[in-house]
Amino acid sequence: GACRVSMSMAEIRAGFTAIKADIQSRDPIRTLSILSHPHSLHKLKSSDRCCITHQLFTFYVDKVFKHCRTEDSFVNRKISSIANSFLSARRKLSQCHEQNNCMCGEESREKFKQILANYEGLNVTSAAMKSLGELDILLDWMEKS
């Protein structure tokens, strides 16, 4: 269904860009991706976009940001900024979901199951830091028309 959510993508992007090098340098594992392998987000049907976006925002809010605390105050502040932006956006997505405008097809359920499996394949901190380092993969996919 149609679900238009206004979200400050530019702000989230700016926050992530400011800490991308730092966060990605804390993830030494090249052989695993949480979001993009084995199946890329880009292969999902457009009808599943809303549902997987809602699931992914819930994933980041519930499982990722809170495990990414670092010793660097600047990084922590940017993570807080992104986390609060995700919380605000997730609330709007949830309203869509409740109005049945964000239906979940089989493909998105499978894809999200895969993402959780990738995440649970690592210890919590590594999985959370890797997921945060892949935020641009999510943003790139969301911004594709």
């Binding site: 992007r13 860009t17 990605q24 392998h37």
Partner: protein, 213 residues
């Protein structure tokens, strides 16, 4: 072949330089090494992580390697790595940070073509194309890659020295009601809001409106 004992200083500043997604790996020679250093290069798709050697960049003495072909899928992200060799010894592999072609490329200014009548100028802008392997390959405009792409256009009246700015989404702009017999100089820039990417302004294209009939 077994790895040699690697006591050579490492290549430095290993990074991608990318323009319109022509993605070239660059590095600096190890400190204190003169001529004669050779290099080899490998790359990996993030999430797959299997290192793949680049044959055309094996035992090279230059300090760059074009990996555009290997990194052309901009829905993926990549790492690349360089190792140096000299007089039977070698350095460690030195890696780039994670490279995202979509956000880490630079964009060239648009092509600008201008025509004029006596009292108006017409401007046509063309966004650069994504790098492609060969001229025969299908062209992809960066407009397709970045749906939110816009143009900022500057029009300078050479007589009054006044400069006007326009921000347009489509690639044509007609500026009517100008002064006849007057030179106008046009330059344009590409602006993508998210990811935030701005090209430089193109060089100025000047044209003089026709004399009054």
């Amino acid at each position: 072949s077994g790895e040699l004992y690697c006591s050579l200083p490492n290549p430095r500043n290993v990074h991608f330089e990318s323009i319109n997604m022509k993605n070239v790996l660059h590095w600096s020679a190890p400190e204190g090494t003169g001529d004669g250093v050779l290099y080899k290069v490998k790359y990996a798709v993030y999430g797959i992580g299997k290192w793949i050697r680049k044959p055309e960049c094996r035992n090279i003495n230059r300090t760059w390697c074009d990996l555009s072909s290997e990194t052309s899928d901009y829905e993926e992200q990549y790492y690349a790595s360089v190792k140096a060799f000299l007089n039977g010894t070698c350095s460690d592999w030195m890696e780039t940070t994670r490279f995202n072609p979509l956000t880490d490329t630079k964009i060239d200014p648009p092509m600008v073509s201008v025509s004029s009548t006596d009292r108006s100028i017409s401007i046509i802008l063309t966004a650069p194309e994504k790098w492609k392997r060969s001229p025969e390959e299908e062209s992809i405009s960066l407009l397709q890659v970045y749906p939110g792409l816009k143009y900022n256009v500057s029009v300078l009246n050479k007589k009054t020295k006044k400069r006007w700015f326009f921000s347009i989404s489509n690639n044509t702009l007609v500026v009517p009601w100008l002064e006849p017999g007057t030179a106008y100089c046009v330059s344009a820039q590409i602006h993508v809001t998210t990811p935030l990417l701005d090209s430089a302004f193109s060089k100025e294209h000047c044209i003089t409106t026709l004399k009054d009939k």
